[in-house]
Amino acid sequence: MLTQYLFFFLSAVALISAVMVLLSKKPIHSVLYLTLTFFTLAGHYILLNAQFLAVVHIIVYAGAIMVLFLFTVMLLNLNIEGEFQKSTLMKFVAALAGGMIFLVLIGTLKSFDVSIVSNPEMTQIGLVKNLGKTLYSEYLMPFELSSILFLSAMVGAVMLGKKDKN
Amino acid sequence: MNQDSTKISLTNRSKVVSNKKMTLLERFYLPAIFKGMFITFSHFFKKEVTIQYPEEKRKFSDIYRGLHVLKLDDEGRERCTACGLCALSCPAEAITMIAAERKEDEKDLYREEKYAAVYEINMLRCIFCGDCESACPKEAIFLTDRLVPSEYKRDKFIYGKDVLVEKKDARVDVSKRQTPEVLEFKKDKSKLHNK
């Protein structure tokens, strides 16, 4: 019963803060609302008995990526007056593109067989041990490939950041 | 040119700064850090130098130059004759006075025929150099080892005769200030201030 209330509470907060990301005028507020959304998502993970995912979600998204976002947004001088004007055409195109992404998402969800886990407390897949075993046996190849992707991205960033000697 | 001959070391503890390449051990900095930590830790057990002022007082020198006193002579008469030499010698111009003539019935109050009706020292101006003391031909003003207490208002720091003149029943002992050198100096008034 308690988990149900928690679920509704977290979902409400998640939705409201997600909408506030779009509605708030100040970029910093948007970033902070997004962080709040991530926290509520982490809460959802905990409700699904996936503590590892929840904590990693907080560490990676809230602790690292959003901090970097905050960092850049703070240093950018984004005033309300400085907000660049969008033409009607731009707005139209943006709405179209966004709407199409939305359609695609809905289409995917419809075709996807949503299996409802009846008793999330009983599933142990979200725990560290099981997750690690799955990652390093079944999904070893994609896991290692993604790490190579990260490495190359890192090397690329260092290359870009390096001063040109000549 | 040989630079060494011009080097004067006062403490023999100065070290010439060098930018030599550090050894591997030095590059870890840990030995140096531990050395520093040991030094601070050894200070943990050293005697504190703090003097807790109102309860504990620092021992002053016998000839400490603190709050002034206007002395009375042995019969309890004011020695000051308002000659103004102290005001003249004062580098901070902290001393003012108004002279008055002694009446017949005031013989037991003032030693000389002329006396200071008003004698004020501005303690905020005073630099406690002691020139007034050495200028005084009548040995009337002395600096003592007492301190000027703190006040909240500036005008309270202008001290009049009510504070400066010593009380008959509470004499201020300045005998320790009269070291043989001082007495010798005071004998020869032609030397400095009375010239």
């Binding site: 590892f52 560490i59 901090v67 905050l70 703070m74 | 520093g36 830790f41 703090t50």
Partner: protein
């Protein structure tokens, strides 16, 4: 989930909260006392005997000071900053095992608020969101120095978090568990991790200094360059929260160091003394607090010994000094673990 259980957890959480606050309060006094002794002074001794009432006096002073808010500050975020810092500082204490178990009336009570099976990761998460309070506060002040302090704090915390995580990862590798309770229990009988992980310990200790923004890594509030850093514009109890959170962080960091590397509530010969179960637990808690006090002292000792880093030195040290050591330590540990433990 009976009422009994909830009550016991509530009491334990409240006790630990209270304890952290009181310890942080008195840590301010000890910091000043110790600074005094290191500098051949006495330190505060006017409020109460040995200045024992000094923290109370400080608190009262902070409460009665003027609440100042810069004209163009972001009001909500300005208040959110110190609150968040305080909240995050207090969060980490939930997973630290403060002792063994107490047997009262046939029930076993563990002296740990939440024995999460990912305790170490939880601590990571709390550390990583610790940046927000400082950054939000610094930005919301609408002040250059505050913003610079906030940016410094954030980049410093992010940089040192990596090396810190890596040194903890080695602990996780050797103990095979992410639960702090397991990690502490495995160090039973002088099997302290510090003996097997000396490099990891040094890296962790240095990173702990950096994460708590303590000297020699106190650049975020470096008064010679940035006035007060991220809390330049803060006054009254909001400033108090920032300063207070620093001491709570020291307390929690010391507790983490003691739990991860120095056996937590374990003490030598704890099973050979022939004491009752409860007595051993209480002594263990006392031992843990002795270790915590020692590391708290080390924090202060280092602060009054070492000068502050320059900013580029700090970054270079974090990335080029500590990171390789932490990585090498991790790889070596993995190597030895494979070779000998299997």
């Amino acid at each position: 989930m009976d009422i009994h259980f909830i009550l016991y957890k509530l009491i334990l959480a409240a006790a630990i909260l209270l304890l952290s606050l009181v310890i942080a309060m008195y840590a301010t006094l000890f910091e000043r006392k110790i600074a005094g002794f290191f500098q051949d002074r006495l330190g505060p001794n006017r409020a109460g005997t040995f200045g024992l009432l000094q923290p109370v006096a400080d608190g009262v002073k902070l409460f009665f000071k003027e609440e100042f808010m810069p004209a163009n500050a972001d009001k909500v975020l300005y208040i959110l900053g110190p609150s968040l810092t305080m909240l995050v500082a207090l969060l980490a204490s939930a997973v630290i095992p403060w002792g063994g178990t107490l047997m009262i009336g046939g029930h076993e009570y563990a002296l740990q608020v939440a024995d999460v099976n990912i305790g170490v990761l939880y601590v990571f998460a709390v550390i990583s969101i610790g940046v927000y309070g400082v950054m939000i506060g610094g930005w919301a002040s609408n002040n250059k120095y505050a913003l610079m302090g906030a940016v410094r704090a954030a980049s410093q915390m992010i940089s040192y978090e990596l090396a810190m995580s890596m040194s903890i990862v080695t602990i996780v590798m050797t103990s095979g568990s992410l639960s702090l309770n397991d990690i502490v229990a495995q160090q039973h009988g002088m099997n302290w991790n510090v003996f097997t992980q000396p490099i990891g310990f040094v890296v962790f200790l240095i990173c702990a200094f950096a994460e708590t923004n303590r000297s020699p890594f106190d650049l975020p509030e470096c008064e010679t360059e940035l006035i007060g850093g991220y809390h330049t514009e803060y006054s009254s109890m909001k400033l108090g929260f920032y300063l207070f959170a620093e001491y709570i962080n020291i307390f929690i960091s010391s507790a983490m160091i003691s739990s991860l590397y120095f056996g937590g509530y374990n003490f030598p010969f704890m099973n050979d003394l022939g004491l009752s179960h409860n007595m051993v637990t209480i002594l263990g808690t006392v031992a843990l607090f002795a270790k915590i006090s020692f590391f708290g002292f080390v924090f202060m000792w280092v602060r009054w010994t070492l000068p502050r880093f320059r900013y580029d030195q700090l970054m270079r040290f974090g990335w080029k000094g500590l990171m390789p050591w932490a990585m090498a330590n991790m790889i070596l540990t993995g190597f030895f673990h494979l070779l000998f433990k299997k």
